[in-house]
């Protein structure tokens, strides 16, 4: 597609449920990032993939968060046993290659945990 596509746009889950968020990056983009954005704040880094390799997961807040990109294109962010503090917008970004390149963002998934 022309841009980064994320689904679902909105997700409501009960505390304790598992959720999976999908990101389809711009075709041909090697680098893929996940960020978390709380209301009124800037995005904060979660994890980074170069092709299928997860090279940095230092921003994942707990071991309940897991991300994968098995074929080097589509990525999934999974949150297990969700808690209320997981409520946020989850943004995916991709860039053509690693380095000083613009990251292009999708419109995010707004996750609400009840």
């Amino acid at each position: 597609g022309a841009g980064v596509s994320q689904s679902p746009r909105y997700k409501v889950a009960k505390r304790g449920q598992d959720v999976a968020l999908r990101c389809d990056p711009i075709s041909g983009h090697v680098s893929l990032f996940w960020y978390q954005q709380a209301l009124g704040q800037g995005p904060e880094f979660l994890t980074y993939f170069q092709n299928e390799a997860q090279l940095d997961k230092s921003g994942l807040p707990s071991d309940r968060f897991f991300a994968e990109r098995p074929e080097g294109s589509v990525s999934t962010l999974k949150i297990q046993r969700t808690q209320q503090e997981d409520s946020a917008v989850y943004l995916c970004a991709s860039s053509f290659k690693e380095g000083n390149q613009p990251q292009h963002f999708g419109d995010g998934t707004r996750l609400s945990i009840l």
């Binding site: 960020y35 704040q41 800037g42 995005p43 904060e44 943004l91 963002f105 419109d107």
Partner: protein, 112 residues
């Protein structure tokens, strides 16, 4: 930059005037900077970037200025239009890092 939670700095300008949005960064090792525009319910949209070996870069109606001495970045928008109303974020990247670090945003409101 520090997060300001729900209380974003705000800037109101008259339609047609020029806007200047400022950003202070703290990491002297940052060598790449980006400005993003974020409208409600949308993801950040790339506006313009600048590398640390430059101090000015121009785009269409936008100019980014970088002052490494005082670690300051600014975004100038010429002839501001209603469609420019949004939250603007600066972001920086340290040379060895892969991810962007975002500053606190500024809410720009264009008055008719």
């Amino acid at each position: 930059g520090e997060s300001v939670g729900l209380h974003l700095p705000t800037l109101s300008v008259q339609e047609g005037d020029n806007s200047i949005i400022n950003c202070a960064y703290s990491n002297s090792a940052s060598d790449y900077f980006i400005w993003y525009k974020q409208e409600s319910g949308k993801g950040p949209q790339f506006i313009i970037d600048i590398r640390s070996n430059m101090d000015k870069r121009q785009g269409q109606r936008v100019t980014v200025l970088l002052n490494k001495t005082v670690k300051h970045l600014s975004l100038q928008i010429a002839a501001t239009q209603p469609g420019d109303s949004a939250v603007y974020f600066c972001a920086e990247k340290e040379g060895s890092a892969r991810q962007l670090t975002f500053g606190s945003g500024t809410q720009l409101t264009v008055l008719p």
